[in-house]
């Protein structure tokens, strides 16, 4: 059985549809890379799944429970967490406090502040620092750590590497994929090569719809690029 299932999911910004009648399944334990051009609906899709954006139609089922109408904090309690675009740390709180906010209502699970600091040694020295003073990579790590502290079964990460130096990106990916108690992952990644390298499966969005969905082993980079720009459709038309 799939961990998360979306059926004809629709989400809008005002009158503009950003996600159109989308069907989606995520299996327990896999790593899914979500790719697509700017405006393809990746962020809106993740935000809608996490409950930060209202669904205009369709259904989201998480582990057998219909969560379409549930607010974000209840989805977190069920084990669905999002690292939002732009990290969105609480700027006036320290790294420690940012993590503590998430830990206070966390599901029972392996992740505690101590285990997080062990898994992300780079953060250990920053505990007392205000989030607003961190570098981009440090903020991204803190945001991922904060989401992990809720002990998610499914972690959605928006724009893993946006604005980070290549070294920082390596660090973030190492931390994410090498975790001992790794949750199921859905990652938005602009870097196609990295997406195909890390993920088990790739989903490419185009104008709010799924243009391509394939195991990373069975698809070439060119095929994904075609779907990315909608070339195959244009050729057909």
């Amino acid at each position: 059985m799939s961990l998360l299932r979306a059926e004809s999911l629709t989400a809008r910004h005002g009158l503009l549809p950003a996600v159109r009648e989308m069907a989606l399944e995520i299996a327990e334990g896999e790593i899914v890379a979500l790719v697509g051009a700017n405006g393809a609906g990746k962020s809106t899709l993740l935000r809608t799944l996490a409950g930060a954006h209202p669904a205009a139609g369709g259904k989201i089922v998480f582990d057998g429970t219909d969560i379409t109408a549930r607010p974000a904090h209840q989805r977190v309690a069920l084990g669905l967490a999002l690292v939002p675009e732009g990290r969105r740390l609480f700027p006036g709180l320290t790294v420690d406090e940012n993590l503590a906010v998430a830990a206070r209502r966390a599901r029972p699970g392996p992740w505690k502040p101590e285990t997080v600091y062990e898994a992300f040694p780079a953060l250990a020295g920053l505990r007392g620092q205000r989030a607003s003073g961190l570098s981009g990579g440090q903020q991204q790590l803190t945001a991922i750590a904060r989401a992990l502290l809720t002990n998610p079964r499914l972690l959605l990460v928006d724009e893993v590497s946006l604005g980070l130096s290549p070294v920082a990106v390596d660090g973030v990916y190492e931390s994410l994929t090498g975790l001992a108690d790794r949750p199921t992952l859905v990652l938005v990644e602009q870097d196609l090569a990295r997406a195909l390298d890390v993920a088990d499966r790739v989903i490419c969005l185009l104008e709010g719809r799924v243009a391509l969905e394939a195991a990373t082993g069975s698809v070439t980079r060119e095929q994904v690029t075609e779907a990315y720009f909608g070339l195959s459709r244009r050729k057909a038309a």
Binding site: H73, V76, R88, F90, G92, L93, A102, R104, A106
Partner: protein
């Protein structure tokens, strides 16, 4: 010497204003809304205390102990029924709904309690009339000192709770970014409701002291809202420490004004407020801080 005494009495009066301002400052800090019914909720709480005290013949402290949980619950309910919805419909809506609420509270009190003025002053005369004489012209009223101590305890205690407890951290997190708070499992609506409950609770304490110190009537609320707001602005907005100082400055300004001519008392407070507003950065000497602290 009488000027020194005026300043001293102003500090005590300022304690009362700081108590009124506490809840206003908290709600503004956490939700960025000004509750226009704040003064009327304080007067409502004071009327409840007065009613319990006279109905059952108990001391004001006992009556307040009964009224406080009721008012806390009322604040919580107010948030989940009216204010949550108001917040969702835009920046201006909370102003309109709380203004409507203010009118409803004032006129309901008028229907239930008549326009007569009431006071708790006679209920515990030793507290309300007693004082220490330091010198011929310098006195420390018991009640003034109690109000000041309670104000420092309430504002200081709340400050510590916000800074150092999980409860406070959640409130600061929800204040800075309610959407993201939801994404890490914090129900912003419930956190906001707690903030409003605390605000209405502290307003009730302030209203009770007002009824002990002087009198209340159904129309007393708006003036207290204005004083509370002046204290918050003089104190630099959004910080409880600033609010305490703002209250004291306002109290001293009023008693110094009254020292010149009793008619100038309230006007002097308005003047200080307007000076702060007109000052280059809209503050007296404190830094504006965006976060709740």
């Amino acid at each position: 010497m009488s000027w020194v005494n005026a300043i001293l009495q102003g500090v005590f009066l300022g304690g009362l204003y700081a108590l009124f301002a506490c809840g206003l400052s908290l709600m503004f800090g956490v939700m960025r809304i000004i509750n226009l019914a704040h003064g009327d909720l304080a007067v409502l709480g004071a009327f409840l205390v007065w009613w319990v005290a006279t109905q059952f013949g108990v001391a004001p402290v006992v009556a307040a102990a009964f009224a406080l949980p009721v008012m806390l619950a009322l604040g919580y309910l107010l948030q989940v029924t009216v204010l949550t919805r108001s917040l969702r419909s835009g920046e201006l809506t909370p102003l309109l709904t709380t203004f409507g609420l203010a009118i409803v509270i004032q006129n309901t009190l008028l229907l239930v309690f008549s326009p007569d003025v009431r006071s708790l002053g006679t209920a515990s005369p030793w507290l309300t009339t007693g004082s220490w004489r330091i010198t011929d012209e310098l006195t420390v009223p018991y009640l003034g000192l109690v109000i000041l101590l309670v104000a420092v305890a309430v504002l200081g205690g709340l400050h510590l709770v916000l800074q150092h407890t999980g409860f406070g951290r959640e409130m600061r997190a929800a204040a800075q970014d309610p959407d993201t708070a939801g994404l890490v499992g914090v129900p912003a609506t419930a956190v906001y409701a707690r903030a409003t409950a605390i605000a209405v609770g502290t307003a009730t304490i302030a209203g009770t002291f007002l009824a002990l110190h002087s009198t209340i009537d159904p129309a007393s609320g708006p003036v207290q809202l204005i004083f509370a707001f002046e204290a918050v602005v003089i104190g630099g907005l959004g910080s409880l420490r600033g609010t305490l100082i703002g209250g004291l400055v306002l109290g001293v300004a009023q008693t110094l004004g009254a020292q010149i001519d009793p008619q100038y008392s309230i006007l002097a407070g308005h003047l200080v407020f307007l000076i702060v507003l007109a000052s280059p950065q809209g503050r007296l000497f404190w830094r504006r801080r965006e976060a709740v602290a």
